[in-house]
Structures are given as structure tokens and as C-alpha cells.
Amino acid sequence: MTRSPALRFLLVLGLLTGAALLLPLVANRGIVFLAGVVAINVVLGLAFNLLFSTAGLLSFGQATFSAAGAYAVALLLLRVPEIPFLVALGAAAATGAAIATAIGLVALRRTEGVYFAVLTLAFAELVHVVIAKTSFFGRNDGLTGIPRPRIGPIDLADGQAYYVFVILVTALLIACLWWVTHSRLGRSFRAIRLDPMRAAFLGIDVRRRRLEAFAVSGACAAAAGGLMGPLTSIVSPDLAHWGESTKPILFTLLGGAGHFWGPLVGAVVFSGVEYATRSLAGASDLITGGLLLAVVLAIPGGLLGLAALVVRRLRRRERPATVTDAAAEGARP
């Protein structure tokens, strides 16, 4: 196994992307559709975790950014159908970054910790109400009939073309998030999380860095949200509901906040449980919620935290044997 974190990351990302791209060969189109939704959720979870575990900011309003991206793409595809789709996605990311910057400028000015979290929730609810009350956004009914676009000669409405596109774009977004997390910028985010006062003393502009973290997270969440409209053919105010903001938090806690891939594991497991209990109407939410509660309470480090613990214990068990063997080897004449 390679020791370079970048190569190791690319290897894992390549394997996951490859597995996702091969899925249509073995699964029906319903499952493939759900896999597309999970891929988008993974980016939402990772974007949240960039804020939470890297920059130390707890945001309860992530759905604002994904909904902003979803609405931006939906409106552009419905009203300006000739717009290139990649430009629409870029516009979605820019919208997310702009809204995050605007909210961040207010929320990060004087608040942090739980006050910041509550303020993001308040802004998210404001955005939800504005969407639900504005005719331009389709009010409570949302926007329907969002087409799957073309990219040059490729018609994304053909077969699983749009799913493949979703997987490739989400892989790219995941790579961006990993790069930010491990870049100099990411290290300054971590420095702020660990000790903002010392970071400021070392010359890091704490407020500016936090705003940058918020904007990067918002842009990635919005770009992922932008993929949602053409996938489901509908965007509705539910996307901006506070309940949607809790999902990336759940993915992160379930998978393990201390690990880059934690939200991915969380999103996949969460969706798996939801899918397995889908025909148990009413009980489905109860089972999903109960399982989440059990995992979060019993395994504070999440599923990846548990896996890491198990691996450490196994290694510790193996280690004395190795030492004895080595000693025996060394004792030989």
C-alpha cells in the first residue's frame, strides 16, 4: 500500500468511481437512480465535514446551499434552455459561494460556536420561506419538468448517461474537497479549529479563513445540489427545509467525523438502511432514526472510527508475537 496520502486517496476515489460506474451493469435503473442521489449526498456530507471537522464550524443550514444550486440549475435549464449545462453548474456553484459569503459575513461577524450554528439555521429557514412564497421559484409546488441536458454531442437523457455524468462530477467535487482539506488553506482551517487565538497570533486572518471555508463548502454543496434537478426532474422547497440540513450532519456522525471518507460511509449506510426499510411505511423513519441514535451513542467515532479501532486492536495483538519472533531471530547465533 502506498504511503503517499494523495496517491492513496486517488486509488480509493478511483476504485469507488469505478464501482459506481459499473453499477448499471448489475443493478436495475431504480437502484442506479438511488445511487446517483447517494453520490450527491456524499458531496453534501463531505462539504459539511470540511466546515465541521476541518474548520471547526457547525452549520445547521447546509440545505440552503444545495437548494440554491438546485434552483439555479433548474431555473437556467427551464428558462434559458440554450445555456451550456457546465455553465449552469458553474453558476450553481457561484450562487452557493455567494450566498455562503453573504450569510457568513453576517453570521461570522460576531458569533461562533452554538450561536453561529443557530444563526445558520435561522438563515436557512429564511431562504426556505422565501422560496416557498415566491412565484419565481414556483412557491410551495417547486419547479417541475426539469430536462436532462446535453453536453455538446452527448445527450444526458439517453439511458444512464446522466448517472455517469453525476458520478464523474461528484468524483471531481470530492477530489476538490480533499485537495482543499490537505492544502495549505486546509491546514490553516485546522489551525483555526484547534486554537483560533494562537492561529491569529501566527498571522492567520481567522474571520477571513472561516469565510473562505464557508464559501468553499457552500460552492461544493451548491454544485452537488445543481445535479439534483435534472436527476429527479423536480426541485421543491423541501430541498431547503431544515430537515435536509440535518442529513449531512447525520452522514458525518454515522460514518465518522474524524475521517475524510466518514460522510461517504455514513451516506451509503444511511441510504442502505432507508432502502431496506422502504416498504415498512411509518416504521421506516423510526428504524432509521433508532439505528442512527444507537450508532452515534455507542460509537462516538462513527463507523470508520470503529473500523480504525478494530484494526488498531488487531495490530496490537499481532505486535507482541512479531517482537518475540524478532527477539528469537536476534538470539540466534
Binding site: A27, N28, G30, V37, T144, G145, T232, S233, R278
Partner: protein, 418 residues
């Protein structure tokens, strides 16, 4: 533990791929396999009370058909999914069913969900029959050949306006309590269209339309809106709030005496509000998809008896009848065409006449809208009754006389107050 060999892995992978690639939708009659119908309806959340009627109604209808030998010798089987009254959740589970090869679906009651199905079913080659969605867009500007409304649609409110003109010719000023969503806006727009057409025709009087009171969806406090309504000169009020919202609104309106000297026309709560408020329910009219006690056809009677036997509910609401109509429409279409393929079913459904609990219905070929008779009941409190209320009047209006012209792909042209 058994070791998974490379050979076993390859074999199982290939086998799975082969099994999944097989197309289960083969011609009816070549097999005795059940014909699977997907039911996507709210089975949890705030609209579960409606979804439960759809679910039970569908199960009873399928049981009756299967007991009678099925469709062309094949039994029907239902696959339920919970759409939680959320368009995104609904499209997700609908796609999942399509992925399982279940292309014939029904159970939609929310307008937004029904509107979302048009492009989805078209793209994914499925069919959806709505069971109560009221938006006029479904068969007009958002018309999709893959979505059918097998029940009463837009024109139910026109029938209710006509009935008011016939029963209350002196009540010529109207306003509405309208929730701010697609269904609410549709109810008001169509009701006004009906008032403006039928009052002059039947009574010779021009109705006065007072701006409706728009209320937030899911509001817990209607008192401001109630005083607003009480200040208007309107002698008639149409209510489009729904379920728990309507019960809250009716209850809060009591101390204000809002309904004392006014006629209350409720859009379609059937027994929902009356069940909640019992002897406190104000006297009002309400639209119903199917009133079991007034339909004496053998289909209605058999269905009602089977429904009561299965659920123990002696007062089923009309959505159960809409589910029966959806199952009957698919059964008739499959029997007619001999196939369950989407294209064949769409062709068979267009112009299809089929028998339901409310009598015969015909699906208009141009815009996939069924023409059926419209039913309205008057509910009033009754302390002597077990349930605290009674149905004191019933009116049936033939659908052919009130249905709007078919304009698929184009917005419905509505009369508006000058």
C-alpha cells in the same frame, strides 16, 4: 466460513446480471404470473389518513378481481411505496418501482406529485393514474400522455359552483379561505369560473367575487383570517384548507360565528373535519369522490361490503373509491389490449369506458381526463348519531355537463371577475 472462490464470484455475478436483464413485462396470457401494479401514495406523515383509504381501497379492489379469476386469468398484485406527500420522495420511489419493472402505477393524491410524474413517466416509460390530484395543469398545460386522471378533476369545483347556483340562487357574493399552494389556488380559480358561468345562466344574477383570503399552508392560527373573512360582504365561503388545517380553521371560526349566516362550501374534506369535530362541526357542503350510501350499483355495494369486512370502517371516504377506479381502469385496459406494456396500456386507456363504484366512467382520449358524475354531500351535527354528525343531503351532477373543454398542452381558459 465458506470461501468465495473466483469462479463462484464470476458465476454468481453473471447469473445476477442475466436475471436482472430479463424483461418481466411479457404478454398477458403467456404466463400465470401476477400482474404487478405499483401504488405510490402517502403511507406516513400528514396525508397518511388519505393514503390509508387509497391503500385499503386498492387492496379490496384487487382482492375482488382476483377472486373473480383475475385479468385474463392472471391475478393482480400490488407493490406499495410511501411517498410521504413529498414530490422528491414520490419520484424516487416511482423510479425504484420502474426499475423493478413495475411500469403501471397509481395512488397519487397531491397535485405537485402528479405534476412531477408527467416528465418522469414519459422519460422512464411508465404510466401513472392519479387518485385525487386536483390541479387543472395535469390535463392542460402540463399534459403528459403518460399521466391519467381517472377521477374527477378540475370540473368538480365547477359542479359545486353549479349546485350552489341551483340550491342557493340568492347567495351571490362569494369569497374563499384558500391555502397558498397549487391545490388551493386551483380550487379557487375553478370555483370562480363555475360561479361566473352558472349563476348568470341559472339565476340570471351576476355573482360578486370578493378577493379570497390566502392562508399559509399548515397554519395553526386562523383567527386573523377568520376576522378578515367575517368583515367581507360575502354570503358564501368556499374552503380549500385540508385535513387538520380545515379542522383547526372550522373550530376556530365557531366563536366568531363565521358560518352562522353564511353558506359554507368545502372543497373535498369529505368526513375528515366531521370526524374530528363531531357535534361541533358546522353545517356545510363538501365534495366527495364517492359517497357509499348513495351509490346502489352492485359494484359499489360489493366494494363497500368488502371494504367494511376488511377494515371495520363503516364510513369509508371517497379516495377508497378512486383507488377502486384506478385498479378497474388498469384491469379493463389490460383485458382490452392483452398486454401490460406502457404503449399498449396508454392506447387502451384513451377513450376507455369502465365500471366503477360511482358508475361508468370514460377517459377522454384528448387529455386523459375521466368524465364521471360529481357527488356532493351536506354534513350537519347530530348529537343523536354515534359519530356526532349526519349526512343530511346528497346531490349528483353529471360530469358531461360541467367538464371543461380538452386543451392538452394549453392552459385552461378561465372566467375571471371583471
Amino acid at each position: 466460513m465458506t470461501k468465495l472462490t473466483r469462479r463462484a464470484l464470476l458465476a454468481s455475478g453473471a447469473g445476477t446480471a442475466l436475471a436482472l436483464s430479463a424483461d418481466p413485462r411479457i404478454g398477458v396470457g403467456q404466463t400465470n404470473e401476477p400482474i404487478r401494479l405499483g401504488v405510490v401514495t402517502p403511507l406516513s406523515g400528514p396525508q397518511e389518513f388519505i393514503g390509508s383509504f387509497v391503500k385499503n381501497g386498492a387492496e379490496v379492489a384487487v382482492d375482488l378481481i382476483n377472486k373473480a379469476g383475475g385479468v385474463r386469468g392472471r391475478p393482480l398484485a400490488l407493490e406499495f411505496r410511501d411517498e410521504k406527500a413529498n414530490p422528491a420522495a414520490a419520484t424516487t420511489v416511482a423510479r425504484e418501482l420502474l426499475g423493478m419493472g413495475i411500469n403501471l402505477q397509481f395512488g397519487t393524491i397531491a397535485s405537485t406529485v402528479a405534476l412531477a410524474y408527467g416528465p418522469l413517466m414519459q422519460a422512464e416509460n411508465g404510466v401513472n393514474l392519479t387518485c385525487g390530484a386536483g390541479s387543472e395543469k395535469i390535463n392542460h398545460e402540463n399534459y403528459s400522455p403518460h399521466v391519467f386522471r381517472i377521477g374527477d378533476g378540475t370540473y368538480r369545483m365547477r359542479a359545486q359552483a353549479r349546485m350552489m347556483a341551483e340550491k342557493f340562487p340568492d347567495v351571490t357574493s362569494w369569497t374563499g379561505i384558500i391555502p397558498d399552494h397549487e391545490y388551493g389556488r386551483t380550487v379557487w380559480a375553478i370555483y370562480v369560473d363555475g360561479l361566473l358561468e352558472f349563476y348568470p345562466k341559472i339565476t340570471g344574477k351576476q355573482p360578486q367575487i370578493v378577493d379570497p383570503i390566502i392562508v399559509p399552508y399548515g397554519s395553526g392560527d386562523y383567527r386573523n383570517f377568520i376576522t378578515q373573512a367575517a368583515r367581507t360582504p360575502a354570503r358564501g365561503i368556499v374552503n380549500a384548507t385540508y385535513g387538520g388545517d380545515a379542522a383547526t380553521f372550522f373550530q376556530q371560526a365557531r366563536p366568531f360565528g363565521l358560518f352562522n349566516n353564511r353558506i359554507l362550501m368545502d372543497a373535498a374534506n369529505e368526513f375528515i373535519v366531521a370526524n374530528a369535530l363531531k357535534t361541533q362541526v358546522p353545517k356545510h357542503w363538501t365534495g366527495t369522490h364517492w359517497y357509499y350510501a348513495a351509490n346502489s350499483s352492485p359494484v359499489s355495494k360489493t366494494f363497500y361490503e368488502a371494504y367494511v369486512a376488511k377494515t371495520g370502517q363503516k364510513m369509508p371516504m371517497g379516495w377508497a373509491g378512486e383507488a377502486q377506479a384506478a385498479v378497474a381502469a388498469y384491469a379493463a385496459a389490460i383485458a382490452k389490449t392483452g398486454s401490460t406494456e406502457t404503449k399498449a396500456i396508454i392506447e387502451a386507456l384513451k377513450g376507455l369506458t369502465f365500471d366503477t363504484v360511482t358508475g361508468s366512467r370514460t377517459i377522454r382520449a384528448e387529455d386523459n381526463q375521466a368524465i364521471k358524475d360529481l357527488e356532493m354531500i351536506q354534513i350537519e351535527p347530530d348529537a343523536g348519531s354515534d359519530v356526532g354528525f349526519k349526512v343530511s343531503d346528497y346531490v349528483k351532477i353529471p360530469g358531461a355537463g360541467v367538464i371543461e373543454p380538452a386543451t392538452p398542452g394549453k392552459a385552461m381558459v378561465l372566467r375571471k371577475p371583471s
